[in-house]
Symmetry: C2
Subunit: 702 residues, 2 copies
Amino acid sequence: MLEKLFLPESVAVIGASKKPGKVGHDILKNLITCGFKGKIIPVNPSGGELLGLKVYSSLRDYESTVDQVIIVVPGKYVCDAARDAVAKKAGSVIVISAGFKETGEEGRQKELQLADICRSGGARLLGPNCLGLINTENNLNASFAGGGMPESGGIAVFSQSGALCTAMLDMAKGRHLGLSKLVSIGNKADISEVDLLQSLASDESTKVIVGYLEDISSGDKFIKAAEEASNVKPVVILKSGTTAAGQKAAASHTGVLAGAETAYGAAFKRSGVCRADTFDALFDYATALSMQPPPKGDRILIITNAGGPGTMAADAVEKAGMQVAELDRNITTALRAKLPAAASVGNPIDVLGDADPERYVEALKAAQQDADVDGILILLTPQAMTKPAETARAIAANLDHSKPVLASFMGGADVLPGRRELAAAGLPDYESPERAVAALRAMHQYGVWKRRPPRLVTRFPVNRRRVERIITRKQRTGRLQLGEVKAKDILKAYGFHILPGHLAIDAQEAAEVARFIGFPVAMKIVSPNIIHKTDLGGVRLNLGSSQEVEDAFELMTLRIRQHAPDAIIEGIYVEKMAESGLEIILGMTRDPQFGPMLMFGLGGIFVEVMKDVTFYLAPITEDEAIQMLKSTRSYEMLKGKRGSKEVDIHAIAGALQRISQLTTDFPQIVELDINPLIVGEIGSDPVVADARMTFAPKNNKK
Amino acid sequence: MLEKLFLPESVAVIGASKKPGKVGHDILKNLITCGFKGKIIPVNPSGGELLGLKVYSSLRDYESTVDQVIIVVPGKYVCDAARDAVAKKAGSVIVISAGFKETGEEGRQKELQLADICRSGGARLLGPNCLGLINTENNLNASFAGGGMPESGGIAVFSQSGALCTAMLDMAKGRHLGLSKLVSIGNKADISEVDLLQSLASDESTKVIVGYLEDISSGDKFIKAAEEASNVKPVVILKSGTTAAGQKAAASHTGVLAGAETAYGAAFKRSGVCRADTFDALFDYATALSMQPPPKGDRILIITNAGGPGTMAADAVEKAGMQVAELDRNITTALRAKLPAAASVGNPIDVLGDADPERYVEALKAAQQDADVDGILILLTPQAMTKPAETARAIAANLDHSKPVLASFMGGADVLPGRRELAAAGLPDYESPERAVAALRAMHQYGVWKRRPPRLVTRFPVNRRRVERIITRKQRTGRLQLGEVKAKDILKAYGFHILPGHLAIDAQEAAEVARFIGFPVAMKIVSPNIIHKTDLGGVRLNLGSSQEVEDAFELMTLRIRQHAPDAIIEGIYVEKMAESGLEIILGMTRDPQFGPMLMFGLGGIFVEVMKDVTFYLAPITEDEAIQMLKSTRSYEMLKGKRGSKEVDIHAIAGALQRISQLTTDFPQIVELDINPLIVGEIGSDPVVADARMTFAPKNNKK
């Protein structure tokens, strides 16, 4: 895939320039000096010769076809140049030039036109407004980045910011990290993160995919491509612009609680993407993941030549939610015999300040041998007797590659030779124990995702037709907010347990309904204009007799008329009182990129004050639903606190799956709250006590 | 202070050795080669000459006095060497040798003996079991660290881990950071962090104090010294061993919730210490604080030559709880005229990818000029036209030093010349925008602390004598757990509002009490053996008549006898029912190092499930008490949520101050819970609904 982009045999540069420092010069120079072996065709109206190559005054003059055309001419000539490119059967066009979508509407139109020229000509388009690309496999440097060819290695990088590409290239150079490819995706008029995830997933020279993104072109496609790529190799992404985006207006609890951040978090979690929160973390994680296998568990063993850093590392392991491993007793005994008496063979294993390489090796062997150790962290401080380089070499020579080994050789100048040896041996090394632990944690999370059970989404038998009819009717009326009664109707059709109840339009009917369904009952005002019923006195609970029901009816309508004189009151819904139980909130809000996002939280202050909720993308599996519950801080409430019994967790998971099915079946539902769902002991049915939905206007199906 | 430690004019090395690689050799060599100008006296029984100096076979043979004696002989000879040192009127003794406290009881005794010899001889003792010290002011390198003399500068470092000293030295060398002093404090037999904080606070060559600690010798002294030092210059500390320490057993809620971590956090907060959570952060913060003034507020302006990093930095500023500043409109207009049309003059100010140094300077000037900008962050990515070194120089030349300016020149090899220029110009530079923002945040927090209002602790008029009597009586009986009735007695003496109530020993008396104080009443079992009254049915609420009270009495005693047949029941406490209000928990647990730690939290699930509590060290001011309330996530509950009114926040703060006074007055109180304190609307008195205390045994006053 993208073969003509990464592996062209001939490359033309339209806009090649004689003037050093100009982009059209630097690209041509990079192509030549970095050792690209294919044909290079500079194009410039002035013709002549450039850097030893014949310059064509127009690409049309070139006698043969070209695989790749790089366009560096001013914005207004770009489309013409692209036409020349497709005329020469170019399979890939790289537009470096700016002046497109980023400049406003006119530029956006020009960008569409450019994309159209390429698409209809059969060429894939990279950019416009990008830095170009680099492939270390064939020494193709089709970029205007300075610094020459990066070292070759297993990390592929794509970035929506060209400037960040240059910083990453420079960082890789400084850290001696090898890259397989570097792609600046610019405005993404054609080739986007999705194409690159697909292409790099099957690229044999790439071991880890690293990306910097500011937005995503298509949520569905991204998740699919990212998940498929993650199945093959780790994908590490830094996504910026998370806090800046303002909160969107939303009518539901769920909508208000779902920030712009939430959907990306859910999408990355679903698709196995390792999310880096900082620029450092991006390469910290990528380095580890490209060099070492992910751990099989979270039990980390620390080897150190000093107590302080060992303690710091153990602190970091615990704070990261991982475990400080315990060595097997037999292995401990054997190791103790090989180390000085003062050495500690617990965890951390302290090989002491005067440790020679051999002691490190003995400790490493013991840790590798122990089946209850999942990952190893080796710390070194440059003490008087310490030999950083020899120690690094000895460690590298004794790796059995059964589990990840990371290092932190702490210091600067003196440990540098050791750090270089580590890098050369494929041992990730970090400036501090804490950064090494963060990388281990990212590896562990990726490992957990890789070992996840197969995603089997349950399809419940439901009455889909009924929901279709309700929605169609509602959309026709244009009233897109759905109140309790109709929302419950829909939920009932999807298997939710609803209490018996009926709409009453006068006090007598209310009492009649109450007698029919049995006391005690709840009464709730039904009005399309009133969203927060409780605030206006529109809810009465636990009414025990006909008299109480009739009184309540009169009083409620009176009060509502006082508080909201213009509200249309359809009547009062009389419903059997729910038995007491734990109140939880389930919800869904539809993200413009990633579709239905499900929410779970405990009711009342857990949601309103503590914002203790979790989100997950639909469709959801039973296992994922249970994980959602477990990832709230208030999970222990479900397991029963002082005096209350454990509630039916699988019933909640079932309810989440039903919402998942409902909102996947009906893209017209844009928001949904079940607030509260009353959950009882194991074996009991949870009951929808109140619910609300919002539909999209009719012509908008997304 | 510590003058003979840092500025000796003569230094003897007992245990000087001919053999390179041996500590006794390396120290002598460091002294000589690093350029110490004073007299150097090597001592070794074999005499002769060493590195060009005459070797004395015993220090006693030396004809004059010495200021400093470094001891490098095996552990068993150390005390004798120390005796020789004090005989020569040494003002400071540095014991490098190990084999003391860290080896067990025998070593501990030897260490006490060593300390005693020095103290009675008038010498300050550094170590034992340490790396030594370095003072760049007088080129004194009295350590066995490799790498020669560090660069001279404003950062003073002390560390409880000698190995970490070597790593820090090496890191400083790698980053070209200048140090004023480096002190390895080892076992801290005499000189501890407290002495160094005091000494370095008044050291003119030190701008920032950096410390690594594993424990603290004396909490009170530490807080005092750290606060005094922080008033003069920033103190940055990395404290390890926080999570490893197990939870101590505790009878109170407060005790259970206060981890080992909490007390250190509270102590650092009180004394203005910038806490570094990682090894990187330690120097990241120290660098910024040593080079730049703390910001006057939290409004940060970002200058960048690329959109991506600008967004990343803005994200980081928001996540750190600071503000992305807005430039004044007039300044914006003026700046716009000086930058290309495509540049963005919002925040971030984007000076574009082809920015020359001049554009950075214009943006910097604008930001410096604007009174609504408190701190400036300059980002640079190495793009084709970028001149890192020239840009760095131009920025440095245009600083007006009115506010902190930090930089992140992103990349590796190509930006290195720029980074070097920044370092040389005193501009802190970070590998990533996120790390720069973390440093800005640490500076901001220090600034806030420096501007704190004067700490005026209120002394309330109280009945101290009464509490004294109760405690003395209790300690005499040996029953150290104090139940509700007596605990309320004590609280009442300190001005807490207690509901009328009385202990009843039979049903009739209970009804009599109830009639006297008025219905409704609450009834609670009183037993020294029952801590969790509610769990055993030992609490009944809202009893409205004599009959109900009598019935409850019989039933409660019956139940308790069934559940806890051995419990001594003193009677049942009959108390007026509290009016409803918000339930909060106040508490105190006495930290062995830092003394009384006050706790605040909202009752019920906020504490039990969400652990949403804050701690602060007593004595506390009104302002600090209010800050405690505000720093919980549930603070908004106090301000009134749907349907409930705002409660009296100052009344809660008052209650915290009274607990502060009580537990400062009586070190015998080791734990205290008021659970709940019922708080009502503004102007109402909070009511102690239940309380519990634990005393120390009689002979233990701490």
